[in-house]
């Protein structure tokens, strides 16, 4: 009886060790296999402004409200126009800072006179909700100096970016955290 029990016990031990080895194997194999495919630096999500179609989904699909994706102005590309496609609604009667003339629904774009005939447009990021209307307007009628970027002080860097998942033009992808932004005026 005692010998029998020992026999079972040793068999059970054998099964246990075998199982343990089988299970540990992938834990060892996976890191070895991934050794070359591991990045020490990590990733962040960013919008490629050249792929972006200004569909407006950044505003609604980010897990944060307001969205972490905001409008950025590449000043060096801007024409400093009086009649700005990004600032003014299409077909406005007067060129003024009146709310009814502005493209931006939250009034986040500020217009400032620089010198004749130039006006400077700056973005108040606290007000910007990432609707991309101004970006579309600027791209359609102007130099395309307004563009969308994900701001990393707001972005929580989800494992699965929910605007990237629904982005119709696949403009959002992971980029190395050391790069972080894809500025339009530095290309």
């Amino acid at each position: 009886m005692k010998a029998d029990k020992n026999k079972y016990q040793s068999r059970r031990d054998f099964v246990k060790t075998a199982g343990k080895l089988i299970i540990v194997a992938p834990l060892v194999i996976i890191p070895v296999f991934l050794a070359k495919k591991t990045s020490v630096k990590g990733y962040v999500w960013q919008i490629d402004p050249l792929k972006c179609t200004q569909c407006g989904q950044c505003k609604t699909n980010c897990v944060l409200t307001p969205s972490a994706s905001k409008c950025v102005h590449a000043y060096r590309m801007c024409g400093y126009c009086d009649l700005c496609g990004g600032y003014l609604r299409q077909g406005v009667k007067t060129i003024s800072t009146g709310a009814e003339n502005q493209m931006c629904p939250t009034g986040a774009i500020k217009r400032k006179f620089v010198e004749e005939p130039y006006f400077e447009y700056t973005i108040d990021e606290k007000l910007c909700d990432g609707c991309a209307k101004c970006v579309k307007g600027c791209g359609d009628f102007g130099n395309g100096s307004l563009y969308m970027q994900i701001r990393h002080d707001i972005c929580v860097n989800c494992n699965d970016c929910s605007i990237a998942r629904t982005c119709p033009s696949n403009a959002i992808s992971r980029i190395p955290a050391s790069i972080a932004y894809i500025p339009k005026d530095k290309r």
């Binding site: 343990k20 991934l34 990590g42 179609t53 897990v63 024409g79 395309g144 494992n159 699965d160 119709p168």
Partner: protein, 421 residues
């Protein structure tokens, strides 16, 4: 030819001019007043050091939880550990990065070129598994923020009927299989997308997920840890690793006296009672059943493989490219112009339909390649579950089931045996 040369040169110059000034419809201003361009403040993302500090916190939290569960045997300590993890990994780190979701990063980088897994994600995947292999599911006990929020809200535990529990416990296997398949085909990360509690950590989520999370928490008051038991895909791996744990939490600090006081203690049905009083079955009969079930393993595996293989084209709709191709095909068929944003963006992109269709075909092909493995995995897990029903071992004490036990320490206070440490 010589005559045409000036014209060609002129054309080239014109083209060059167009390339240079393609962006600028309006010339850039030359300021006379000496106006300088403002600069954009592009705030840098969170420093990398912090990601590695997260890993250190994870290791420290696991070590402390192990000590509290196995050595100190303090339920109160484990609860405080849960509070800490909920605060740090949950509300401070806002639920990202977590070990549960890291399964997908591993799968994505294993089966795709062009994505290298961040080292932190790999560590978050491996370290809790190593701890499970050494000390059981201590990760669930007090480190996982998803487990912590449910542990802290599980106030009035009610036991589920065993049959319901066993059937529902198969759901995580399916969830894990599908999540790995979707990540491997670079489609989407469903574990992150349908994470019920991350919305609570961020205090912001789509309303459907808030409702789902709230319902889970509410039901969790009575049916404790519903996500861990019936959904968590990482739990499947922890369960497997914990079964072979070197050391594991015990109900009693010394020798079990079979007093049966702890019988009703575990809300997860994870205490295996001793069966010294039970009559054992005819060994011949149970051996026969074992052999039959063992021979059924390949049958289940192949059935599962075939089943999921046939589902592959339907399941591939999870990939946005496949969905887009289907939409365009439907548009062609019905003649009604689609108003979907991705269809409009596709038309603007200048890609041809043939390109899209070949891309779609290659993605479906990848689904076809991966899905039999998922099916086989499900079949094998199912048949191993069956086999485990036929194995009866003699047990002389009350012990936690190493796979199912979350090391939460609820059973400690039920044991009358006290040992001074």
């Amino acid at each position: 030819m010589k005559k045409a040369l000036p014209y060609i040169l002129l054309l080239l110059l014109l083209c060059w001019h167009m390339v240079l000034f393609a962006q600028d419809r309006f010339p850039r201003p030359e300021f006379e007043s000496g106006h300088v361009y403002p600069t954009n403040q592009m705030t840098a993302p969170r420093a990398q050091v912090w990601e590695y500090i997260d890993v250190l916190v994870l290791i420290a939290a696991l070590a402390v939880t192990t000590w509290l569960a196995l050595k100190k045997r303090s339920r109160r300590g484990l609860i405080w550990m849960s509070v800490f993890s909920l605060a740090y990994f949950g509300f401070y780190r806002e639920g990202c990065i977590c070990s549960v979701g890291s399964v997908q990063n591993v799968s994505l980088s294993l089966f795709n070129t062009g994505y290298s897994i961040p080292l932190t994600a790999l560590l978050f995947f491996i370290i809790p598994l190593l701890f499970a292999l050494a000390y059981g599911r201590v990760f669930c006990a007090g480190v996982c923020p998803l487990g912590a929020i449910q542990e802290l809200t599980g106030l009035k535990p009610v036991k589920l009927p065993k049959a319901v529990e066993v059937i529902l416990a198969f759901v995580p296997f399916i969830y894990l299989g599908i999540a790995i398949l979707f990540a491997a085909t670079n489609s989407q990360f469903i574990i992150c997308r349908y994470d019920p509690f991350v919305g609570i950590f961020r205090l912001d989520a789509p309303y459907t997920m808030i409702i789902f999370g709230a319902l889970l928490l509410l039901s969790g008051i009575f049916v404790n840890r519903p996500y861990c038991r019936f959904l968590c895909p990482y739990g499947v791996l922890l369960n497997l690793f914990s079964r072979f744990a070197g050391k594991h939490l015990t109900i009693t600090p010394a020798e079990c006296t079979n007093c049966r006081l702890c019988e009703e203690a575990c809300p997860y049905n994870a205490i295996i009672p001793s069966n010294t009083e039970q009559k054992s079955e005819d060994p011949q009969k149970s051996r026969k059943r074992f052999i039959i079930y063992f021979l059924m393993v390949p049958v289940f595996a192949i059935t599962g493989a075939i089943l999921i293989y046939n589902l592959a084209p339907a399941v591939s709709g999870a990939n946005s490219t496949v969905r887009l191709a289907r939409e365009i095909r439907a548009e062609k068929k019905t003649g009604i112009e689609s108003e979907l944003k991705n269809v409009i963006a596709f038309k603007e992109s200048g890609k041809t339909e043939e390109q899209l269709y070949t891309e779609e075909e290659s993605i479906i092909e990848r689904f076809r390649k991966g899905s039999p493995w998922v099916g086989a995995f499900l079949g094998i897990s199912f048949s191993i579950g069956l086999i485990s029903l036929t194995i009866r071992s003699k047990r002389t004490e009350y012990k936690p089931h190493q796979g199912k036990c979350y090391s939460c320490g609820r059973c400690f206070k039920y044991c009358p045996i006290k040992v001074k440490i």
